[in-house]
Amino acid sequence: MEELLKIASEFSTTPGARYLTDGKHSGQEFYEQILKKRFESLLKANLKLTIDLDGTHGYATSFLDEAFGRLSKDFGADVVIANTKFISNEEPYLIDEIKEYINEATNDN
């Protein structure tokens, strides 16, 4: 079973930069207010999270790195990869990019 998280409708169509101090809709805000809580609760319920990246004006590298890199640091790259699925019809290359951030974040530890 899976649950869908569509960033454009549940967070913002204009995701921002890395930190809260960088301005609105940052990666930190997305992680702390939405992604972490949702991932944690689904993990407990043994459900997978599908993240839909379409419908926004585009993603800054800093946003993706902060959100998914921190998810990987907190839960482990293997757990994150095994329990998430990404949808990106508009920018398919983003999926590989995010997986890189997930793996790099754990390697940095």
Binding site: A17, R18, G23, H57, G58, Y59, S62, Y93
Partner: protein, 186 residues
């Protein structure tokens, strides 16, 4: 009334022959009342070949030209978008949302172009996967930089690397245009 091309050419040839016969004395040529079969076959084959070149081959060249023009137009679109990004980086003022949208559009245009090139069966050394990789690098350099008051602020080294990559991309896109234009469909 519109006559088919072959009839038009036939008429012109026939009328030219009559006009020539009537107006000149035809001292140089002598007409024999015998027709050699080989010459007749030769004449028909040469005419047929001429007609084939003038119609079928010309149409094929024409349709390839349309495909090439379409691809060149798409490459120009990408070139223009990257030139806009370059202008922002050069000025040192890189508006957050505009540049993100521009880079998203560029990346998706490159992906579409790769599909179009496959569809048109053009095998060139344009190096679009390389162009896509470099565009991704440009995006990382710009959008991984800190953002202040709705603008990305690049360090001097990031700015230099980004401008170098953008110049390189500009050259590669120009080469791609030349490569598509000179591509020979066989």
């Amino acid at each position: 009334m519109k006559l088919p091309t072959i009839i038009k050419f036939g008429l012109i040839f026939f009328l030219g022959g009559i006009a020539g016969f009537l107006s000149c004395e035809w001292t140089y040529f002598e007409f024999d009342n015998k027709i050699v079969l080989v010459d007749l076959i030769n004449l028909v084959l040469t005419g047929g070949l001429g007609y084939y070149i003038a119609t079928a081959l010309q149409n094929k060249i024409g349709s390839n030209r349309v495909e090439k023009d379409l691809l060149i137009e798409e490459i120009k679109k990408i070139k223009t978008e990257l030139e806009k990004v370059q202008a922002y980086v050069d000025n040192g003022s890189i508006p957050f949302n505009e540049v993100l949208a521009l880079l998203k559009s560029t990346s998706s245009n490159i992906s579409s172009l790769i599909l179009l090139i496959k569809l048109c069966k053009i095998q060139t050394d344009c190096g679009f996967p390389e162009i896509q990789r470099k565009t991704s690098q440009v995006k990382r350099l710009i959008t991984n930089s800190p953002s202040i008051s709705g603008s990305f602020v690049l360090s001097q080294s990031s700015k230099t690397s980004t401008l170098y990559l953008l110049k390189d991309l500009n050259n590669q896109l120009f080469k791609a245009i030349v490569s598509v234009n000179r591509h020979d469909h066989n």
